[in-house]
Symmetry: C2
Subunit: 579 residues, 2 copies
Amino acid sequence: MPRLRLAMAQTNPTVGDRLGNATTLLSMARLAYDQGAQVMLTGELALTGYPIEDLALRNNFLELSEQSLAAFASALERDGMGDMAVIIGHPAGPFHVNDSQTVPHHPARARNCASVLLHGKIQATYAKHHLPNYAVFDEFRTFIPGDQGLIIRLGDIDLGIVICEDLWRQDGPIESLTPYPLGALLVPNASPFERDKNTVREPLVTTRAREMNNTICYVNIVGGQDDLVFDGDSMIIDPKGQRIASGLRFREDLIVCDLDLPLAQSGAPLPANTQRVEISVREAGAQALENRPIVQTSELGTLWDALVTGTRDYVEKNGFPSALLGLSGGIDSAVCAAIASDAIGASRVYGVSMPSVHSSQHSLDDAAELANNIGLHHRVEPIANLVEPFDSQLGLSGLAAENVQARARGVLLMALSNSEGHLVLTTGNKSELAVGYSTIYGDSVGGFAPIKDVPKTLVWELALWRNEHAQDLGETPPIPISSIEKQPSAELRPGQTDQDSLPDYETLDNILDLLVVQGLDLPGIVARGFDQNLVAEILTLVSRAEWKRRQGAMGPRISSVAFGRDRRLPVTSKPTTFS
Amino acid sequence: MPRLRLAMAQTNPTVGDRLGNATTLLSMARLAYDQGAQVMLTGELALTGYPIEDLALRNNFLELSEQSLAAFASALERDGMGDMAVIIGHPAGPFHVNDSQTVPHHPARARNCASVLLHGKIQATYAKHHLPNYAVFDEFRTFIPGDQGLIIRLGDIDLGIVICEDLWRQDGPIESLTPYPLGALLVPNASPFERDKNTVREPLVTTRAREMNNTICYVNIVGGQDDLVFDGDSMIIDPKGQRIASGLRFREDLIVCDLDLPLAQSGAPLPANTQRVEISVREAGAQALENRPIVQTSELGTLWDALVTGTRDYVEKNGFPSALLGLSGGIDSAVCAAIASDAIGASRVYGVSMPSVHSSQHSLDDAAELANNIGLHHRVEPIANLVEPFDSQLGLSGLAAENVQARARGVLLMALSNSEGHLVLTTGNKSELAVGYSTIYGDSVGGFAPIKDVPKTLVWELALWRNEHAQDLGETPPIPISSIEKQPSAELRPGQTDQDSLPDYETLDNILDLLVVQGLDLPGIVARGFDQNLVAEILTLVSRAEWKRRQGAMGPRISSVAFGRDRRLPVTSKPTTFS
């Protein structure tokens, strides 16, 4: 069996930052080359980042991307790496579609491509065939599908290429390539993290490797891009379904591997609509490769890493020097502070306690303990003097007065942000956002929401996990026990607890999971044994809070259905029935 | 030539409100029946409203819609109208797609249908073939395409049916039906209003009528649904391309018409994949039909009607008793107040002047004059005492202090909304939103933004038009001349004008139109003769303000590219280039 030394570059691209992205890829190419790699494979759209959304509809964006691609190919050649094939993900276009002239606003679109670079030139290009247009994906909006398969004959090895969604579908390229005796299938991906994704992603790759009877080299990108978090976890799966190499999760990584692959069969009939391109690359290097241990992390640890990665990349990719958040003494702000500190270091995190006349001493104490445990900056700014003028001038009471407290805090945080340059983090959790248990323009202010997709019960679990993790490392547990154990309260009136207005969080989160994540509707949820009136009430709350969520900050998506581009529902909606 | 008495029901559905929508259709059916109509045609998804977005993915939503459809058919029969064919738009499903089991989150979808109801039963159903997935449309996400044509043989007349986008594309159903000698083509639509849409929509229908050599009966829905405004303007175009009947714009309407149509040719070969269903309906009524005059409105009058309709329907469909807005004395709030008053009546509109220490007397006077002209409720709430505690407690100055003023106003408006139940309207215009010239959580607070899609220069034009229109009607012009003529200023510091920070609005709006509406990029705009540095600066401002716009209120879309679902761009984005 011929041997191939293959590198997989698992990078953290920023959308549009072709300079930064290509520079990272060039550094990885250097490392790969120096380890004797013959081929280096990147993630999907690694040159431009993913998703590029409507940037794909802009001629200038596509032109500059093609120029960057050509420049990157030249740079590889210039730097003496021209004889290593680099297979890189990039957009190409524009391509005009039928009717794009006659149907208004039906613009030309791009193609989602992977090109083979060698000796400073593009040798061949594959365009993604299946364009996902569900969940968070809008590829049918911005891309047109490819219609040609590609096989690279690299010396005496045949390598197939498909991109991400192509691997998930049985029809199209996978169906065409399956009968062909490939050496390996190379798959660039931009596959966002979600809880339990590893229960579907690796099994899929394994199934395909077995069905196709070839090795699959699956490269994913990493990092946060707005609400999406990419977890890496690149993998090579052999035809028996064994994972033989792994990329790190949530971190950039270069995987270099020797693969013993079957000899290309020169007489094998080419699949329909498939091009075979012959290239010849350098000999594999003779140096020994390091063994890469496969690291296992706990489920909660993985979720934590996802939240930290999403938060870090939002801060860093948008150039914020620091982050600021309100510290109420409660569990949500404590967990957000810990995430932010893990993301960018406690020295860049600023906490503000903003006690009102209804705030308890234990809240102040818990916030101070948290700040002390973590080592973040902490100040106390009482709001009584800020709130009182509103109450007295407008004669407020009840809900209006409660909300003024939350909004005074919002104004205060934004004023500090404007003065000092911090990104404001908003600390609402998924359960609150679902039912609208928050004050818009109050506790919702901020550019990023670290636990937006974390239900309250999971917030507690993560807090406990983070504390245990600290203990395992011999560090101070960041989150005060009392913040974890006390009854949750917004403290907007005396003696208030969340359960005055909401069912217990375990019930609420179970119902919300069935509704939002599993996509069940009223009868489906009731059939799981929940009270019909309670379910109906929660559905109404969720529906009424849609307008608030539309105006909310983005935050890292860790579930399979987050609030945001996963779930597109009208604000104006009346679920009545004619009968 | 046989004659057909056809009714077109141009209704204003609310998404999900099958009861309200069907009740309106039943009343219209009554009127149509009483005028002797043989067939009544509705708009696209008239039963459920449009767009239903991800509601189309919910089994229960689809089941309840099918139940409502069946109940509506029965109600027609029960009320003695069973012998009039009613062709109604509705969703059907769920339909499972290839791979919906194996690809995670690739859900079953619906079909976008029009069904022929007669004698209490569904006689035939056509499913939309072309699913728009660009601009504001996401139909490929929620629907699967139909693959069968439908011809209704109604006595001796053949009627074809296609839905909305099908008419815009040359391939598919239009291509199949063109060679067939149809009597008329019936087209239910949900075609959103946009400026200049009438320069493409009627010409398209005219072209198709001529090409197909048949009459086209084009029914659109009307009304506001979140950010979309449907303008009606239903039409019947004869094979010569003449418009022979018109629905009102922006209002519900029933159009009843006698059409002399060619005799069905029994020997005509049926197009491929097309079903022909024979039905027999009542005789046409003998009563004379009223002549319907075709009403012409000016372009600015039409835009005004679109803004009023969008605002009215957001208020009414969401059940708000009243609307509240800040009145600065400036042109934006004046125009918003006039729109709101035209939408729901001045007695339901509440204006608040919130002068700061930097506010001029003329601003207060202009706001008072506006309120007086319109007859809306008006109060003055100075903010000095609300702002001062923030400034002194935090030691604020500069931008941070400016923003506290705007945010104190936001808190004040929201407090009044919480106390009194008003919907808060936010008064930002498209130019400001584009470049981020607004204070988030300050002047941006509110649930609806009436002039969100109106560039500043158009705000002035609309103000002048509205005043002239009042004069034409012998009424008091609502908007004070001084609000129109003075230099725009945020009045957040002494002597401030917008042009301290921005280019003149005419230049700005021209550049923004090229960028946002026409979709040009930097080189394309510079090629139109604008200064490269200025264009680059504006592009940077527009890009940096993306995070604010994501958290902004929705407002009526009147251009072909509004900020919102038309324009999906990342927040995190660095347009650098590797070279």
